[in-house]
């Protein structure tokens, strides 16, 4: 009876069974999307990745930390391993949070690769799918390619030279080769251009799924940063204008109130969001994502219930004075985008949460003040806007200013004024001209705490420079410049050991 040695798990299945139905495909696709939102498969305590607490293992929390904490927009009081390195700008290849982000992005790539392996035309037909079902699976496939391209963009932006794997590589004993920024740029660009005709037309897909506008949005973001990735003189501002214009002309509109973009019902009646990461206090429970952004931003003294997290308030992140200083009036009375709490903007003691203004941009309540259900009262139902129209306006304006063809300053000023008019509720702050410094500041005002800042500062050559400092930049109160190699994060030591084909980034 050696047959008894063939045991199968009770509640798991093989790939053959998983991909038997269209619904099965969609469930795997949910994992390809859900790898953004969730750390793992089984609630808050599970993680796809080891070596990191599941509460910190989701994409957004890690990405947000890496993009916000080393900038003037945010500083964290926690002493957890890896956290202080960000604001001190002395991270090493052993930073657990950077390793976790790198792992998360590449895990997401691997999950997408698996879906692509299982959704080739041969597999679709061999499993008996035809007609609309087969077409649907092909659309899923294009979306999985988009998500993979997005993660490769993240890896290119943060780590520059990651390992490179596609659906043509095996699962198991395999050493992925290293790629570089130039090659990766070409790859991401070619993938996005290739899937542009394969995904659903702009604003025609289900909520939270990729459409053409998402593809254009990422292309525009990619082209705007081309000089960072490809070197000076290799700008692609014309392309940035081309693709941001496509988004702008696709029928999106600014949500009438800025505040509403970051509330628990931002998934309904929202004409501005192009692609969100979805969260829900019951169905998408995790301690990262917007749950993290909200709870880390407030503490028990701030009446957590009024933020929709009666059981929360972790007291971690607040701003440095340089963020409110981007606003001429940070009270919120004029520019309503300024959503701060507290009175002491200066951080005298970096370990005191009440030093520095708190940011209360995200709230887990609906526009009518209702707190959505969540066990324990701390999980957020606020969707995170990964791409929204306002960014495309700003890309357009910046690309025009940087010399791109196909756009004009008057149109750009119109877009910028649209943002200001929403912010002020009137035309009082309208501008008639702008320069690049204005764009950087305006991006800070419009997009703060949306995980853009590090990339923006690098593009404007202000990230490591001693000429642009903020409180506690580089670990000292008055701020200081740091080594220029820190515009790229190190390849994590764990993967350098596991993958002998990798070489460390310069400086580390």
């Amino acid at each position: 009876c050696t047959k008894d040695l063939d045991r199968m798990p009770t509640n798991a299945t093989t790939s053959e069974v998983a991909y038997k139905t269209l619904d099965g495909y969609k469930q795997v696709l949910a994992k390809v999307y859900g790898s953004f939102a969730l750390p793992g498969n089984n609630g808050t305590g599970s993680s796809d990745l080891a070596g990191i607490d599941p509460g910190q293992a989701d994409f957004l929390r890690l990405f947000w930390n890496a993009q916000e904490l080393p900038t003037e927009e945010a500083a964290c009081v926690w002493n957890d391993p890896g956290i202080p390195d960000f604001h001190n700008m002395n991270w090493t290849s052993n930073n657990v949070l950077l390793a976790a982000l790198y792992n998360r992005s590449l895990f997401h790539v691997t999950i997408a690769n698996e879906f692509l392996r299982e959704s080739t035309d041969e597999k679709i037909s061999s499993r008996g799918f035809t007609g609309k079902d087969a077409d649907d699976i092909r659309t899923f496939r294009a979306e999985a390619r988009f998500l993979r391209a997005f993660e490769y963009w993240v890896l290119m932006d943060l780590f520059a030279n990651p390992p490179f794997v596609t659906e043509n590589d095996p699962i198991g004993k395999y050493i992925p080769p290293q790629t570089n920024r130039t090659a990766l740029f070409k790859y991401v660009e070619s993938e996005l251009l290739a899937i542009e005709p394969l995904v659903v037309k702009a604003r025609n897909n289900e909520y939270a799924r990729v459409d053409q506008a998402a593809v254009w949005s990422l292309l525009a973001r990619l082209y705007l940063n081309a000089e960072v990735y490809l070197g000076k003189g290799n700008g692609k501002y014309t392309e940035a204008i081309t693709y941001s214009s496509k988004v702008i002309n696709a029928g999106y509109a600014l949500k009438s109130d800025y505040k509403g973009l970051f509330l628990a019902d931002n998934d309904v009646n929202n004409p501005e969001i192009i692609l969100p990461i979805v969260y829900d206090g019951v169905k998408v429970q995790n301690n990262g994502g917007t749950t993290f952004i909200i709870n880390a931003a407030i503490n028990g003294d701030m009446n957590p219930a009024s933020f929709g997290v009666p059981g929360g308030g972790w007291g971690g992140n607040r701003s440095t004075k340089a963020l409110p200083d981007l606003f001429t009036d940070h009270s919120g009375a004029t520019d309503k985008r300024a959503m701060f709490y507290g009175t002491k903007a200066d951080i005298d003691d970096p370990a005191q949460f009440t030093d520095g203004l708190r940011v209360i941009k995200y709230r887990n309540v609906t526009s009518t003040g209702v707190t959505p259900p969540a066990p324990g009262g701390a999980f957020s139902s606020v969707d995170f806007p990964l791409f929204r129209l306002a960014e495309q306006y700003l890309i357009y304006a910046e690309a025009v200013k940087r010399g791109g063809a196909g756009g004009d300053e008057n149109t750009a000023i119109g877009y910028l004024n649209a943002l200001l008019e929403r912010a002020y509720g009137n035309k009082s702050a309208d501008i008639t001209g702008y320069n690049l410094d204005y764009i950087l500041a305006e991006r800070g005002r419009e997009l703060y705490w949306e995980a853009f800042r590090r990339s923006d500062l690098i593009r404007f050559e202000k990230f490591t420079a001693g000429t642009y400092v903020w409180p506690w930049k580089g670990g000292i109160k008055e701020g200081r410049g740091v080594e220029s190699f820190r515009t790229i994060y190190p390849i994590p030591a764990t993967d350098l050991t596991a993958n002998p084909s990798l070489k460390q980034n310069t400086g580390y």
């Binding site: 050696t2 008894d4 040695l5 045991r7 798990p9 009770t10 798991a12 299945t13 093989t14 790939s15 069974v17 469930q27 795997v28 949910a30 859900g34 969730l38 793992g40 498969n41 089984n42 796809d48 990745l49 080891a50 070596g51 607490d53 910190q56 002493n79 090493t92 590449l106 895990f107 691997t110 999950i111 698996e114 390992p163 590589d169 095996p170 699962i171 395999y174 050493i175 909520y207 939270a208 979805v278 829900d280 019951v282 169905k283 998408v284 028990g300 003294d301 219930a305 009666p310 059981g311 972790w314 370990a351 969540a374 066990p375 701390a378 993967d495 050991t497 596991a498 002998p500 084909s501």
Partner: protein, 965 residues
Amino acid sequence: QGQISGKVTDAATGESLPGVSIQIKGTSRGTQTNGQGHYTIGGTTPATILVYTFMGKKPVEITVGGQTTIDVKLADDKHDLMEAVVIGYGTQKKKDVTGSIATITTKDFQKGSIQTPEQLILGKVAGVSITSNSGQPGVGSTIRIRGGSSLNASNDPLYVVDGVPFSGGGINGAPNPMVLLNPNDIESLTIMKDAAATAIYGSRASNGVIMITTKKGTSGRAKINFNTSFAVGKISKKIDVLSADDFRKYVDSLGTPAQKALMGNASTDWQKEIYRTGITTDNNLSISGAIKNIPYRVSGNFMNQSGVLITDNLKRSFLSVNLNPQFFDKHLKVNISAKGAITNAHYANQQAIINAVQFDPTQPVYDSSSPFGGYFEWYTKDAAGNVTLNPNAPRNPVSLIRMQDNNSEVKRSYGNIELDYKFHFLPELRANLNLGYDVSRGSGTTFVPANAGQAYTTAGQNNHFLQKINNKVGEFYLNYNKTFPGIKSNINALAGYGYYDNATTNYNYASFNAKGDTIVGSIPKFPFDIPRNTLISYYGRLIYTFDDKYIVQGSLRTDGSSRFAKENRWGVFPSAALTWRINRESFLKESKTLSDLKLRLSYGITGNQDGIANYSYMAIYSTSSNASMYQFGNNWYNMQAPAAYDKNIKWEQTATWNGGLDFAVLQDRLRGSVDVYYKKTKNLLNTVPIPIGSNFSNQILTNVGNIENKGIELNIGATPIQKGKLTWDVNFNLTYNNNKITNLTAVTDSSFVGNLTGGITGGTGQSIQIHSVGYNTFAFYVYKQVYDKNGKPLEGVYEDLNGDGIINQKDMYRYKSPAPKVFLGFSTQVTYDRWTLSTSLRASLGNYMYNNVASNFGVRRNILNPLGLLNNSTTDIYNTNFYNNQYQSDYYVQNASFLRMDNLTLGYDLGSLFKNTGHLRLNATCQNVFVITKYKGLDPELNGGIDYNLYPRSRTFVLGANLEF
């Protein structure tokens, strides 16, 4: 020449003894008694000396003289070499044993209130370290034989009860299979350490084997044994924290006005509030005898133990029935055994233990204005009357316990039927069939009212769990054992088959609040899960003995496991051993002083696969839970995800070399053994980082890495005085064990620091230990603290060990490890007439502990908390004055070597009562008498080397009585 015949009987029972060996001294000629104990031997002269030998009996020599009929009574032998020792699939005479085996029987067991079987042999055997998991009632111990040989798979030994191997896993509420075994039912425990002894168990033997023999029925009239004990336990030490007065002084001198205002007016010793005197009553009744030639033994036990943590209680009942009849002229021996255990526990919320350390001592236990059940909690109330509980504050320790009702019930039944048939036509050949089962059911509920601080955000809790375990074992073997006097040889051959199936059913339930409403998102996706694994084995062994002097043994086992893919499923585990009984050589044979001298050499390979997941070789997809879904449009989808797997995963392998010397002198008054061993484990089942992108995780369980364990073991037993009414026995053992990781990666990379392990409390995701090549397993990985001239640690100042001018991760180093380098056991017993005084002590040297209590709480930031509350600190803060936590400082890695007196017992034997039909013994024991250590935390003895939320062990006083009639 004459002929002698006669009958050999048992001196104690009068029963006839079959199979007794009768030999003419000085020759190889001999015979054996038949099934009725009769024998006939020819070729004798009046000068002939006949030697009668039988396992477990004292040998008898009789000069024939003029007799023709000689009936002999054989008496039991105490620590005799003829004693039968249990080995895998059989028994062997102690004198012939080739492996490194230690047997502890009833008379040498630890005294006092013993709740779990392994406590019976605490400190008694070299090479075996037993650490009770905590002071919680019924919690069991962690046992390590010759150090751990694995990093990620199990390091627990294999338990074999009456020939039936138990599955490694415990049931919810029972950490290892031992805790549901009645210690009163145990006749002996045999620890098998080297490959010669264990390799017959093949793939499950790398961590040693513990063979448990339970008491059986006896022939003759019914014997009743009643054992009762009453124990009172109290914690002997509290964690040193600031008193309310010291706390006030601290806050007054360093706090802000706002912080000073947070202080209360009470003086609460929170640890005193949560502990009490624990009381245990334990009663055991057993009856053994025979009904119509069917020997039986029935025993029942009831124990009621209240733990030292308030409300903690364990009630446990055991029932055991054993029948061992023999049929067909004793050719068929049957052993039927069924045992049951029911455990009802009320668990106190152990979170209270650590919260009592950190809770503000100026706050009262009760606060009549508190909406949280009248217990003080850290909360704020705004003008509108909205109450907000501070999410970052610890909860009131007393409330944590009093406002949680956590009950569980574990029922277990296990047993076996063993048929042992000696062939009528070939009595040297035995067939043995052993069928065993082990089923258990664990269930429980946790209720927390809606107004309790601990579950306020969910409006209370009312949760249920249920787990069922169903394990089956089947063994069949043939054993051929024959002596060929003509060629002075004995051959003992064995061939067998084993089938082991372990299935656990875990039921999944939603979570509910106190009102019974389902907590949103908690409805499980699947109603249950059945993790299951199966093992199939074939094994064989040959023991060849020549001239009673040279013993050669070889064994081979092949195991097939459902945990591995077809290509890697089967593992082969051979062993070879050689024993030389030196004292049987002619030059020593006549020695009066030397009664035993034996050299043992062995080598073998064993395997390990327990403690890993069941399906890690398979490419599987699993569905996410209902709390982990994703939204498309207006619909929510459970995610279907592939899991990381290694299709090539296979057995972990340990090769063990062992050299041993057994000796006994002065009529066994001094006896002992020395063993030297070297264990090398390769293809470690090890969770290691893999190139990300090559699988569905960044780490995977795979076979990579080597560990070695080297050690020396010394056991000495002596009877210095044996004169008239006075006997003094002494036992001493010493173990040296050192382990080292010799490889960790598939590709050699000298820059690889190692795999972090040992998560600590404080700051998310911090680890304090590391597995690195060239170091002990679980070595602490820390910064080297710099001290000022007064010996005070300087906050955040560490040595720049690599000298690059920067203090960063590259300056961390490996400092000590939790495993002791040397451990010693000492026990002694003095008997004078009816009085017995005995004690056992244990020492552990070179083991270090990370004091996570001090590192987490002993800082100013903890007392003067930035998050709107005050917390208490350990008194260590006076030494460090640290402002911020310095988790990674080697200051907190402290020497936890210790000397502990496990017990001190005084016994009095009242002798015969009731007209010689009864026998009464009384005893008084103090357990956990004292501990001598430099360790600054609560208790230096702790598994894993990280001291945090330890349920303290109590010091216990026990009164006991044993009545036999």
